[in-house]
């Protein structure tokens, strides 16, 4: 069931420059949460007319908490970053279709590729894939070592391949170059990616000639999140701007979606 309930902030801290981790406690349909699902947060200031769509990075149905990780990109997320523990936030969700976990077999070797604020949904995904018995590798990239977050989460779930543009930690270069250097594209049965458009295009180029299933989780400017306003449309090979990221996505088959 889709609800809009008040959640309470029970933890809120900075994870990296401009990156914040917020833990919210409240009631919603935890059974419907799949890796890749998102919620829309209402900002506690009437001047903001749009909710902020944020992917679920962790979810605990017993403690009734969800963890979100966001970057400050404007006034709205800045306001969010200033909210103290104990503050109530209205959460609309869970929204979107997650990654199709049922399509991967236990024991399968899978690759997660992420960058920037594309990492949070991959954290929940990595956990789920590990629990399913998959061999999880995660390739993530940052500008520099100081910007890194999520390292521990991905180390817990399998092998971590880390890249920084300036080489201050891990491989020197971007994730695409890292994967090229590893030259290990054929071993994966599924590849899951979330991040900037350039990264997703790289994943499409890199893996489209392989046997691997490709799943891309897309970010988009959204207004309603309910499939009504047509703001977040994306093109697929079946048509131009014919799918809505909020309801048909945010996860799409990497061979179907046109970026």
């Amino acid at each position: 069931m889709l609800t809009k309930n008040d959640f309470q902030i029970i933890a809120h801290q900075k994870s990296a420059p401009n990156i914040y981790r917020i833990v919210l406690q409240g009631e919603f349909d935890y059974a419907k949460v799949k890796p890749g699902c998102f919620v829309m947060l209402k900002l506690p200031d009437e001047a903001y007319q749009l909710r902020r769509p944020l992917a679920i990075a962790a979810c605990d149905a017993v403690r009734k908490t969800i963890t979100l990780i966001y970057r400050i990109v404007g006034d709205g997320t800045r306001l969010l970053s200033e909210l103290a523990v104990g503050t109530q936030l209205n959460v609309l969700g869970p929204l979107g279709n997650g990654f199709p976990l049922e399509k991967v077999e236990p024991g399968a070797e899978v690759l997660l590729v992420g960058g920037g604020t594309g990492l949070p949904p991959l954290m929940l995904l990595a956990q789920a894939l590990k629990e399913k018995g998959c061999k999880v590798s995660t390739a993530i990239g940052f500008r520099t070592a100081a910007m890194i977050f999520g390292e521990e989460e991905f180390e817990c779930t399998g092998r971590l391949l880390l890249a920084t543009d300036d080489g201050s930690k891990g491989f020197k270069g971007n994730v695409g170059e890292l994967l090229t250097e590893q030259n290990s594209t054929s071993q994966y049965t599924s590849v899951y990616a979330c991040g900037p458009e350039g990264l997703l295009k790289m994943v499409q180029r890199h893996f489209s000639a392989t046997e691997a299933a490709i799943y891309l989780s897309l970010e988009s400017r959204m207004a309603c999140g309910m499939g009504a306003c047509e703001a977040c449309v994306v093109s697929t090979k079946d048509g131009i701007l014919n799918k809505r990221v909020c309801v048909e996505g945010p996860v799409f088959d990497g061979r179907e979606v046109t970026l």
């Binding site: 749009l50 909710r51 309603c224 009504a228 701007l241």
Partner: protein
């Protein structure tokens, strides 16, 4: 008086149990997740997304940008075309909610297109009224061009009225020097009512890219930031033209609804408020009776009569 009767209003072609309806473009064809959050039967009516003769892909993305107290959109009338709407979208809506009055928003690039869409749409027994969209700021042909020149607006209204089997509400653009002049023109063209206001043409520029945020560059501004403009325009038009007005433009609360009635409205449509509050419409419908008590208003019908007689 029963709570329901207090909210009931009657407009040409529309017997509404309450005056609250989702505005065109913010609610699709009812085929979205809002139906998971409340029963659409609670609504006074629904104004469905604009229909054109042929399917329209709409504008490139980004189509949406936020402003302080508002939203800019440039969706560009994306729709599957009038025939698909009549064959696939409306039957589903009608089957689920047979009692829900449907107002069909229609658009076109030429007068001939508007007329053809009006002819097909109004012939459907599932459609109670048309909303003639002469005010979309996000298309490069037609749209707002029909709503900014009085003679063109009058001609189009007359042509659509000649073929329409249901009452026609003309949706006015606020992007004009004198909205009264346009309202008088469409009244002379035979309009049965008015919808006002559509969005205001606006723009936001990204500081880093130095380019407009919207792919279409400009977009239509909606939300509470434009409410005072809507109130002013409805106030002016309702004094100059004797037509019922469906008010829209930043309505969020029961206070906003009453303010629109005091300006001269007969019903209200809700758009942007859905984004923060998906149950904006049913919440308003629930809040209205108490607001009427508080302000010692017997019924909305009586309020309309009082406002009209004081004009």
């Amino acid at each position: 008086m029963m709570a329901e009767e207090r909210l009931a209003v009657e407009l040409p072609g529309l017997k509404l149990k309450n005056p609250v309806m989702p505005a065109s473009g913010c609610f699709g064809f009812g085929d979205n997740r809002y139906a998971e959050m409340f029963d659409l039967n609670e609504l006074g009516a629904i104004i469905i997304k604009a229909a054109t003769l042929k399917p329209r892909i709409g504008n490139p993305v980004p189509r949406i940008a936020e402003t302080k107290s508002g939203v800019l959109n440039a969706v560009g009338l994306q729709n599957p075309g009038v025939d698909v709407i009549l064959k696939e979208k409306l039957p589903i809506l009608h089957k689920k909610y047979p009692e829900l009055p449907v107002i069909a928003n229609i658009a076109g690039a030429t007068q001939a297109e508007y007329v053809e869409v009006a002819k097909r749409m109004s012939a459907s027994s599932m459609v109670s009224a048309l909303e003639l969209n002469i005010s979309c700021p996000n298309v490069h042909e037609g749209g707002m061009l029909f709503g900014t020149d009085p003679a063109t607006a009058q001609r189009l209204t007359k042509a659509v009225k000649e073929v329409s089997k249901v009452p026609v509400y003309v949706k006015l653009s606020p992007n004009v020097t004198d909205i009264v002049e346009i309202a008088q023109a469409v009244a002379a063209g035979g309009a049965d009512g008015l919808s006002m206001i559509n969005t205001l043409l606006g723009m936001r520029i990204d500081l880093k890219t130095r380019k407009p945020i919207l792919a279409n560059k400009t977009g239509g501004l909606s939300g509470p930031g434009i409410k005072p403009i809507a109130v002013r325009m409805i106030y002016q038009v309702s004094r100059a033209v004797n037509l019922p007005i469906i008010a829209m433009g930043g309505i969020e609360t029961a206070d906003d609804v009453i303010e629109m009635y005091l300006a001269g409205a007969s019903a209200v449509a809700i758009g942007t408020a859905h984004f923060n509050n998906p149950t904006a419409c049913p919440d308003l419908i629930k809040a209205l009776p108490q607001k009427l008590d508080e302000l010692k208003i017997k019924s909305l019908g009586q309020l309309i009569a009082e406002v009209r007689s004081a004009q």
